[in-house]
């Protein structure tokens, strides 16, 4: 119980700290402006304004959310090390596991707040063009949020292993690799020489971000069932669990002297 309270305290502190980041406001503002730009494309799109506003809004949410997740995520631990505040924190009755999980939860909270702001911006833009989109859009937003949380966990893992610059590069590589999961799976069709165990192994090892992508289905009004959301939630939670456990193990072993 006390552990949970300490994690919540670190999370609250991380949330306060990250929402003060100027880059965060720039990215969220830019994402909302991108969504609003859909209004300008209205006359060019032959009455496809609703689809275009939704596509731009959801894509901006995902793109800028990933940037926030990666670039703030990799700095969460390294900043504490550079400022030497980590030593002070760990000297208190706070385990390394609690510290890292608190950081993860804190940035997750920040991302949730940002995604909520961007979603509100998207609904407002749709309202401005006279389209009243129902709650169906939220299924895609949920998928995006799950993908962002997974990106944060990967960023945290790399930040416990290496410097923040290298961690950012590694995280971006894994996130991009995860988006090409289907290409990797079908690689043997274009490169028959590629060993099957390698392509299959990579397909399962990399985080499949394509799984969380419900944007096109939602934009076209295709229903997304609760059981489908349940499966992607389980996949995301399971993968995040693996990554966070690896991050905890790495962080426990790390020497800060």
């Amino acid at each position: 119980m006390g552990g949970m309270r300490r994690i919540a305290a670190v999370a609250a502190n991380t949330f306060r700290e990250t929402v003060r980041e100027r880059v965060l406001y720039n990215l969220v503002l830019f994402a909302i402006l991108m969504t609003l730009s859909g209004l300008l494309l209205n006359p060019l799109s032959l009455r496809q304004d609703e689809k275009i506003v939704k596509d731009i809004g959801l894509a901006s949410m995902e793109l800028f959310g990933t940037m926030i997740a990666v670039f703030i995520g990799v700095g969460l631990v390294s900043k504490e090390i550079e400022r030497r505040s980590l030593h002070l924190l760990l000297a208190k009755p706070l385990s390394r596991d609690e510290f890292l999980l608190g950081k993860f939860a804190g940035l997750g909270l920040t991302l949730s707040a940002n995604v909520a702001a961007m979603t509100a911006g998207l609904y407002a833009t749709l309202w401005m063009i006279g389209r009243h989109s129902g709650p169906g859009l939220l299924a895609a937003v949920y998928g995006i949020l799950l993908g962002l949380m997974l990106a944060v966990s990967i960023a945290l893992l790399f930040s416990t292993l290496t410097s923040s610059a290298l961690a950012a590069v590694c995280t971006v590589c894994v996130v991009i690799g995860g988006r090409f999961a289907d290409v990797i799976r079908n690689m043997r069709e274009v490169a028959p020489g590629a060993p099957g165990w390698l392509t299959t192994g990579l397909y399962y090892a990399l985080p499949n971000f394509h799984t969380f992508d419900l944007k096109d289905r939602v934009v076209h009004g295709d229903p997304v069932g609760f059981h489908q959301l349940g499966w992607i939630t389980l996949y995301g939670a399971c993968y995040m669990g693996v990554v966070l456990l690896a991050a905890l193990a790495s962080f426990r072993r790390r020497d800060f002297q």
Binding site: S45, I52, V219, H220
Partner: protein, 295 residues
């Protein structure tokens, strides 16, 4: 001080120089279009997870390309139109509007479109495969096969398929029956365009439907005039030298104009009246044996 003066001088020079450039190269100088990624698959590889957004980008590009070529380009070639529309629909196979309007862009005879009805029908067929529940897309397919490929049995089959879809209107069956019965083609064409005109929202496609209705009226007028010319030719043994001669003979009350207000063109050598090339109702005949002109 000199830096400020230089700054102000350069600021003042920019619009003057731009005006000079515009004067030399033309204010609306067209930039040659290029397509670096030639398939939806390639675009998909560059933007994984953002296929929907990229489909929008390529769709807007298709519209801009089509409109730009139609209005500004001297040669009015539409070489990139089909690949642009194909990329759009490959990126988002459920982009219904891209099939519908893309087929119009491709099928309409030159210079209103790229004059490639086979490509337009193929696009609609792909759309029907991707969106089998869309009766509107299947109805469009039927109309396009009838209008542009002049294949009434195949068109009727497409309309009957459309009728099977939920929400489809009952008149699709009537239309299919009419196609199969195949009476006066222009009357059916007018009926279809009228139907489309009445159901479409205001915009370029409603205007296009109206343009086609007016074109059919113009073709009726051309036929009437050609009959008069033939009558005079058989009476005098030669083609009339001008339409004025018809007026002088009391066969015509005024200079004939089409519904767009452009005088009809008369070729004294052949003794044939036709829609003027200067008219927005003029179309280049399709290069196929079955000609759109017969509408």
């Amino acid at each position: 001080m000199w830096r400020k003066v230089l700054f102000l001088a350069l600021v003042a020079a920019v619009p003057i120089l731009l005006r000079k450039v515009d004067q030399n190269l033309g204010e609306f100088r067209a930039q040659e279009e290029a397509l670096y990624l030639t398939s939806g698959q390639q675009v998909r590889r560059f933007f994984p997870g953002f296929e929907g957004l990229m489909a929008d980008v390529y769709w807007i590009r298709s519209i801009q390309y089509f409109g730009g070529r139609r209005v500004f380009a001297a040669g009015k070639r539409f070489d990139l139109l089909e690949p642009l529309i194909n990329i759009t629909t490959e990126l988002d196979p459920k982009f219904e509007i891209a099939y519908r309007y893309g087929a119009v862009f491709l099928s309409e005879p030159f210079p209103m479109g790229s004059g490639r009805p086979e490509a337009g029908v193929a696009l609609l067929e792909r759309g029907v495969r991707e969106l089998p529940r869309s009766w509107y897309l299947q109805q469009n397919l039927g109309f396009f096969i009838y209008f542009f490929l002049k294949d009434p049995p195949r068109a009727a089959k497409a309309l009957l398929e459309a009728r099977k879809q939920p929400g489809s209107p009952i008149w699709l069956e009537n239309m299919a029956a009419t196609f199969l019965g195949e009476g006066g083609e222009r009357a059916i064409a007018r009926q279809i365009w009228r139907q489309m005109h009445d159901t479409l929202e205001d915009g370029i496609f409603k205007k296009n439907a109206l343009n086609n209705i007016q074109r059919l009226d113009a073709l009726d007028a051309v036929d009437d005039l050609n009959r008069v010319v033939q009558a005079l030719t058989s009476r005098t043994g030669r083609h009339p030298r001008s339409l004025e001669e018809l007026r002088a003979a009391g066969l015509l009350r005024a200079t004939p104009v089409d519904p767009a207000g452009v005088p009809l063109h008369y070729d004294p050598a052949l003794g044939v009246v036709e829609i003027s090339r200067d008219s927005p109702l003029w179309r280049q005949p399709l290069p196929t044996a079955r000609r759109y002109e017969s509408f």
